[in-house]
């Protein structure tokens, strides 16, 4: 293999791993937006919370890493559903804008709570992946990246099967399409909302832990990654779960490729041009397709 091709494939692989993380977070955004009509700005906070919980389970309680991931996701789901149950349920029927402000409030509350409990230091999450690599066909893959992609594929597949074929998935889609008609069938909107929040929080937590196991480690600013998943969600179409996953992969690839070819192609633009790529891409795609890649046309914009 030529060195150019090797470099290209390596960059693509890094993009897939990054895109997987974005896809998980963006899918969480979409699940909540689709069923409740609200954009959950606290997604980054839930991601950070999940990561720190995973750290505690793994480091302090010395649980196996797989179990730590599972428990952290469950705990985050519990927090998400509880927040919906205690705070947002009182806001049903109120303007979405007010609810969105509440989620922004939650985001700013979670951060100081995390630093109060775990401090500002960069933590290393004990995990079996570390910086190991495997080599195949002349390419070097990070073990963590492989796991991140694999777990994402498994979880996203499970979500789509659940959403498409299960009775509760059907209830969620019905509520998303016409809340009142769904109510008239005896579908409990409260349960749908709570489960949507639980799913979104669990997805965010999963993204958080796999990210924290990477070279960046775990710091309070880990939640910022959700900001880049935000364009992924909008790019894919705010009401399309498949679009969220696609958007996440596209943004991840674009960011990784920009970073990989920084020196050759974008040296004039400074060192960190890859950081703005998600937003640039979002703007360009929205100019061409205002409702996103896979979104429906009559989506309400906020």
């Amino acid at each position: 293999m030529s060195p150019e091709l090797t470099a290209f494939l390596t960059n693509c692989f890094a993009g897939l791993a990054l895109g997987s993380t974005y896809a998980l977070v963006a899918l969480g955004f979409v699940v909540i937006y689709k069923s409740t009509g609200v954009i959950n700005f606290a997604q980054g906070g839930l991601l950070a919370l999940g990561a720190y919980l995973g750290y505690t389970f793994s480091e302090n309680l010395a649980l196996a890493f797989g179990l730590s991931i599972l428990f952290a996701c469950l705990a985050a789901a519990f927090v998400g559903a509880g927040f919906e149950r205690i705070v947002l349920r009182r806001m049903v029927g109120q303007p979405p804008f007010a609810v969105i402000m509440i989620t922004i409030g939650l985001l700013f509350i979670i951060e100081p709570v995390l630093t109060a409990v775990w401090g500002f230091d960069n933590l290393q999450v004990p995990n079996p992946w570390n910086i190991q690599t495997v080599e195949a066909g002349g390419l070097v893959f990070g073990v963590r990246d492989l796991w991140t992609i694999g777990i994402t594929i498994a979880v996203v597949t499970a979500f789509f099967l659940f959403f498409r074929f299960s009775g509760f998935g059907l209830a969620m889609r019905a509520t998303a399409f016409d809340p009142e008609a769904a109510l008239a069938q005896g579908i409990s909107a409260k349960k749908v909302y709570a489960v949507s929040w639980a799913i979104a929080a669990a997805l965010a937590a999963l993204a958080g832990i796999t990210l924290a196991a990477g070279p960046g480690g775990l710091s309070p600013s880990i939640g910022f990654i959700a900001l880049a998943a935000f364009p992924a969600m909008i790019l894919g179409g705010m009401d399309s779960p498949a679009g969220a996953v696609l958007g996440g992969i596209v943004i991840g690839l674009a960011e990784a490729l920009t970073r990989g070819y920084q020196d050759q192609l974008f040296s004039w633009a400074g060192d960190n041009v890859s950081i703005i790529v998600p937003y640039l891409l979002m703007i360009v795609i929205l100019l061409i397709r205002p409702y996103g890649l896979l979104g429906t046309k009559d989506v309400r914009r906020i």
């Binding site: 029927g93 009775g167 109510l183």
Partner: protein, 270 residues
């Protein structure tokens, strides 16, 4: 009026307020006899849909609430009950405008209608019964509901409601926007459903259609009942013919300026 023992639904003295100020139902009382068909007539804004919402627990999402009166289903008080409980107890509603889940398949729409039921065998049985009743749906189970014609969508909406195996079916303007032939078809289906033992409360603007299958009719005006009579009497009534059936009372065309309907309305309200 029917004695309480034989009635499946009895609404008494119901008062409903929207946004804490708009009084939409004022002391409305109505009874649906077990295994009967009751027609509810009235102009736009009379409060027909609001009554249905009050029964099925859908007022909340319209910022409405019951401020007075009671709703009893089968001897049980369901005043202000939540929609899921109402459906579980045996009331299903076909909403105005059909409100099918257009992005989902016909099969999924029907399964959504059975959401509150636990026994798979019973659901399968209802499913077979609905497809039997609506052959047009049976052949297109996997296609997207939004591509059905208006009449087929109405069939789907009724089929979806039947999936809850209701003992009382509420229908809100099922003939709205349908061609005359389809209106007849809907009427026959409602009659058929009733013959199989389901009580029916039918809200209609098409008074002729409604009264032709109903045993009993109520006429609503500004939130209260102004007439309640056997359907046959209403069909023969001069005022009803004029206001709701569009037929001049004496067979001759009259100008609206001469119609002193307000006096009759006043007489009814009194």
């Amino acid at each position: 009026m029917v004695a309480a023992g034989e009635s499946i639904l009895s609404v008494s003295n119901l008062e409903v307020v929207y946004d804490d100020v708009v009084l939409v139902l004022r002391g409305l009382s109505l009874t649906v006899p077990t295994a009967g068909v009751v027609a509810l007539l009235g102009a736009n804004g009379a409060g027909k849909t609001t009554l249905l919402r009050a029964v099925t627990g859908l007022l909340h999402s319209h910022r409405g609430r019951i401020t007075k009166g009671t709703v009893q289903f089968d001897g049980r008080d369901i005043t202000g009950a939540d929609p899921a409980r109402v459906v579980r107890l045996g009331i299903a509603q076909v909403m105005e405008g059909r409100r099918i889940f257009a992005e989902m398949t016909i099969d999924e729409n029907l399964r959504a209608g059975a959401h509150t039921r636990r026994s798979r065998a019973e659901v399968r049985e209802s499913y077979a019964r609905v497809l039997d009743l609506f052959p047009v749906l049976a052949s297109r189970r996997r296609s997207t509901a939004g591509y059905l014609s208006g009449g087929e969508q109405q069939m789907l909406a009724i089929g979806r409601a039947l999936m809850a195996a209701p003992r009382l079916l509420l229908l809100d303007e099922p003939s709205l926007g349908l061609a005359p032939k389809l209106v007849e078809q809907v009427r026959d289906i409602i009659r058929h459903i009733n013959e199989q033992g389901t009580s029916v409360l039918l809200v209609e603007q098409n008074a002729m259609m409604a009264l032709s299958i109903a045993d009993f009719g109520y006429v609503l005006e500004v939130g209260t009942v102004v007439r309640d009579d056997p359907a046959g009497d209403l069909l023969a009534d001069e005022d009803i013919r004029e206001f709701y059936l569009g037929a001049p009372a004496d067979g001759a065309q009259r100008s609206f300026a001469e119609v002193k309907s307000y006096r009759r309305k006043k007489r009814w309200s009194a």
